[in-house]
């Protein structure tokens, strides 16, 4: 049996993609999720702050996903939970494993990859020292507290001021732990401004910018850490070392898209985003296989995840209905302050279209402008009060403006960077 569409991953990206494809007329859809519930990472995000853009109201993570899960019931979309996808192939085979059906090979006309991301660990940032218990990624600590009802520790330091780190600083404080400080390697926070105010400032938790952990101490449970200041080249400033005693170190040092399935399928991966290279329909380098959400690039707001998932769904629906014409496409590229642009390719034929381009910058820029050029000609620009690496920015690209330009790529840059 061949499904029209299989969606791998039942987080916000997978849910939104399945529902949108359904609205586009695709009825034979299967969502596969390895957890026992749908909703992905949102299940452990019991704080407010989801859906401001999409639903114009502040929801918790589970409330946000519930809006989608509710809707599933009125559709013919099938769901398999507690089912692990072990492999996907170029021919759109999906190898799965679960308790009831064992190992199976399913087939689909089109696939949408929505596997989300995982947290970077201590190893990935090479913190030297001992290896006691008490060093957790922030998401693991969040899971213990919010889903299992257990505290990972009492005297806490958090490394990394990404959103998860900030939210966990507040969460642990509310649970009675002593959060001593949040350390950030960069001279600015990677988290949303509102999280810094609501999670740190309101609780008098110091944020130490340009600081990092140089060593971990304790042979059984964590006893303390040595921290140090870093200079503008991120090198440790000698003499700035300081010992902080603590029993818990939470790491919020970034997320990595979970592309093990994409790798095995030999899908082309962007070295910067660590996600697949996609066209404006979110099709990967393999025909009929689309990707969206955190597996494609790490999003700070779930609203954009849903938005992107819908784009992928439209692309997949067209592909399934055989109405996706082969297109000539042009590469996009970020430089001079723009670290990456998604999509990495834009189709050139459907010239009536406007493509919303997502990008990130390498540092903080106040009162700046993003400029888009093709073959040396400026085709778009947008002003921003503030651009920061922690917040994804977007800019519209009007395809008709590319008409007649002799070009190799479309370039995005911060003006004057």
């Amino acid at each position: 049996m061949v499904y029209d569409l299989i969606v791998v991953g039942g987080g916000p990206a997978g849910l939104a993609a399945a529902l949108k494809a359904y609205d586009e007329g695709i009825k034979d859809i299967l969502i596969i999720e390895r957890d026992y519930v749908l909703g992905g990472i949102l299940n452990q995000c019991i704080h407010n702050g989801f859906g401001l853009h999409k639903f114009k109201e502040e929801l918790t993570g589970p409330e946000y996903s519930e809006k989608y899960i509710e809707r599933l019931k009125d559709t013919s979309i099938k769901v398999k939970t507690e089912t692990m996808v072990l492999k996907v192939t170029e021919d759109r085979e999906v190898h799965t494993l679960n308790e009831k059906e064992g190992f199976q090979v399913l087939k689909a006309k089109s696939l949408i990859l929505a596997m989300g991301c995982r947290e970077r660990t201590r190893g990935a940032i090479s913190i030297a020292g001992a290896r006691p218990s008490g060093v957790f990624t922030a998401g693991t600590a969040q899971r213990f507290i919010n889903l299992e009802g257990y505290m990972p520790g009492k005297e806490v330091v958090i490394l990394g001021s990404g959103d998860i780190g900030l939210i966990m600083a507040r969460r642990m404080t509310l649970e009675g732990a002593n959060v001593k400080c949040v350390l950030e390697l960069m001279p600015y926070s990677n988290g949303l401004t509102r999280n810094i105010v609501q999670c740190l400032d309101d609780y008098d938790i110091p944020l130490k910018l340009s600081h990092t952990v140089v060593s971990v101490h304790g042979d059984k449970r964590l006893e303390g850490i040595t921290v140090a200041k870093v200079d503008e080249n991120l090198q440790i400033i000698d003499g700035s070392q300081e010992y902080i005693s603590c029993d818990t170190l939470l790491l919020s040092v970034g997320l990595i898209p979970e592309n093990e399935l994409s790798n095995v399928c030999d899908i082309e991966i962007d070295k910067t985003t660590k996600g697949p290279v996609v066209s404006d329909t979110r099709e990967t380098s393999k025909k009929g296989i689309f990707a969206c959400g955190n597996v494609l690039h790490v999003h700070d707001l779930v609203d954009y995840v849903s938005e992107e998932a819908e784009i992928a769904a439209v692309g997949a629906a067209k592909f399934i209905k055989n109405s996706a014409a082969e297109q000539k496409s042009i590469k996009t590229k970020g430089c001079n302050g723009v670290t990456y642009v998604v999509p990495q390719k834009v189709g050139l034929d459907d010239q009536d279209k406007v493509v919303k381009m997502y990008l990130r910058v390498n540092k903080v820029y106040d009162n700046s402008k993003i400029k888009v050029t093709a073959g040396g000609v400026e085709i778009a620009s947008k002003k921003y009060d503030r651009l920061i690496p922690g917040e994804m920015a977007s800019i519209n690209l009007v395809k008709s403006k590319l008409k007649g330009i002799d070009m190799d790529e479309v370039v995005f840059e911060v003006e004057g960077a």
């Binding site: 390895r34 692990m84 679960n98 995982r118 201590r122 190893g123 020292g129 693991t140 299992e148």
Partner: protein, 487 residues
């Protein structure tokens, strides 16, 4: 009264225990930690050395070559996993080339098989990631890799299956000699024994001292490692050594038995036998050196780093002797101790035999050990048969390594008790993958609570005091329905 008591359940102690379990003897193994193979035997390169670099005529040369030849048979009996992948000693110039020729000569003297000097094009054809400036290499087809702790665990389980008694969390604190036998004390507990085997690794000098032998001094020599994601494991197919220079063996690059890329170790004397700290400088040295052999290692793929301590002494060779009637010392068992361990065990049996310990073969001895259930080695049909019998084999717990609940429960039911997260990690590989337990630690802990009747807050990562959770949240403490539902 025990016939033989072995102090220390590293790979050496476990190999001796397994060898003794073939005979009609009452044998005890006393180990201070909560699991076997928790000392040097868990943190090393995991290489079954060919034996060409040990000085000819030494115990190291003899036992390494002999041990190497025993691995195939051992693996067929104990199923711990052994990959005879071969090794290269890479030479980058004329001087290096002269050195590897010397190694080759030594290898011939030591009786090493399957060696040859190979040229650049041979190396690059088989190891395309090696620095193209490579000049030549000594290839040794009899080298291989194992997972060192799984080997030691397999030896221990088979010994226990055959009646050897393992006492974990039993640190030896004193040894007395009375009427021709020994009383080994571990705090309040006493073990009476005819023979003592001191295989306490780094601490073997201190154990010897407890029995009045003061002449040994071990200085730990640290080696640090970086372990990488499996998806770049194939940067090295065989073990890639560098040409030894001025006493330094150089940094090796290997694909571990389970397919991760691993680089290390450096060598630095330290003064504390518990100092397993990795250092920024050490890790940099390891990665800088490794890049000389394989330039394009992606450092963003590191998943963890660790260090191990060699038991080094002034004397070059292993000490394996009955220093005092009934007391056998194994001291200074540094590299290639892992490779040599099965041959060391035979050497020790020989000593015991000559000393008058009667060795009567056991009638019902079983030399085979049931391997852990490893679904990655099964066909799809076998997987489905297994799941049809027990659905827990269809539930993935560790996503990175695709380890199911059934596979975790399986390792909890063996003859050596499993009590910690690290013990599960070393057996079932859960928490050992690229996310290092980020996703599955909570689930593994749930399984431990259920299967071993433990409380979440009693679970340790490794030794006592290495707790994972400090208590319940305020909400859970309040007995909120929502939590009890999820728990």
């Amino acid at each position: 009264m025990y016939d033989v008591s072995i102090i220390g359940a590293g790979v050496v102690g476990c190999a001796i225990a397994r060898e003794l379990s073939k005979y009609d003897l009452k044998v005890a193994v006393l180990e201070k930690d909560s699991d076997v193979s928790n000392g040097t035997s868990k943190a090393n390169s995991g290489i079954v050395h060919g034996g060409y670099d040990a000085a000819p005529g030494t115990l190291k040369a003899k036992l390494c070559v002999k041990g190497n030849q025993m691995f195939k048979q051992l693996d067929s009996e104990l199923k711990f996993g052994y990959n005879k992948c071969g090794s290269y000693v890479l030479a980058f110039d004329e001087d290096d080339h002269k050195e590897i020729l010397k190694l080759y000569e030594k290898g011939v003297k030591n009786g090493v098989k399957n060696m040859s000097i190979v040229n650049k094009s041979f190396i690059l054809a088989n190891e395309p990631n090696v620095n193209p400036e490579v000049y030549s290499a000594l290839f040794c087809g009899s080298s291989g890799v194992i997972s060192p702790f799984e080997f030691a665990i397999a030896l221990a389980e088979n010994a226990a299956d055959n009646g050897v008694e393992f006492f974990l969390e039993t640190p030896v604190t004193a040894i007395e000699e009375i009427d021709g036998h020994f009383i080994i004390k571990s705090d309040d507990r006493k073990f009476r024994t005819k023979y003592v085997i001191n295989s306490a690794g780094l601490f073997s000098d201190e154990i010897a001292k407890m029995a009045g032998m003061e002449d040994y001094k071990i200085t730990p020599r640290k080696g640090e490692y970086l372990l990488f994601d499996k998806d770049i494991g194939n940067m090295a197919n065989a073990v890639l050594f560098q040409t030894p220079k001025e006493g330094s063996k150089g940094i090796l690059i290997t694909q571990t038995y389970h397919g991760n890329l691993m680089i290390g170790p450096n060598a630095k004397y330290v003064y504390d036998k518990e100092d397993m700290l990795t250092t920024k400088e050490g890790l940099k040295e390891v990665s800088d050196q490794a890049k000389k052999s394989v330039p394009n290692i992606d450092m963003s793929k590191v998943i963890t780093q660790f260090a191990g301590l060699r038991s080094s002494m002034e004397q070059y060779d292993f000490i394996i002797e009955e220093t005092k009637k009934g007391f056998v010392n194994l001291i200074g068992i540094d590299s290639p101790g892992l490779t040599s361990s099965p041959a060391i065990a035979l050497e020790v049996l020989d000593i015991l035999d000559k000393s008058g310990l009667g060795l009567d073969p056991k009638e019902n001895h079983i030399s085979y050990r049931t391997p852990y259930i490893r679904m990655d080695h099964m066909s799809n049909e076998e997987v489905n048969e297994l799941i049809a019998q027990d659905g827990s084999f269809g539930k993935i717990v560790c996503r990175c390594e695709s380890i199911t609940e059934g596979e975790i429960v399986d390792v909890l039911k063996r003859s050596i008790p499993v009590k910690t997260i690290d013990a599960i990690k070393r057996r079932a590989r859960a928490t050992m993958g690229r996310c290092q337990g980020g996703f599955c630690t909570p689930k593994v802990m749930d399984i431990m609570c259920r299967e071993l009747n433990m409380e979440m807050t009693d679970i340790n990562k490794s030794e006592k005091g290495s707790y994972i959770l400090s208590g319940k949240t305020q909400k859970a403490e309040g007995g909120n329905e929502q939590w009890s539902m999820i728990l």
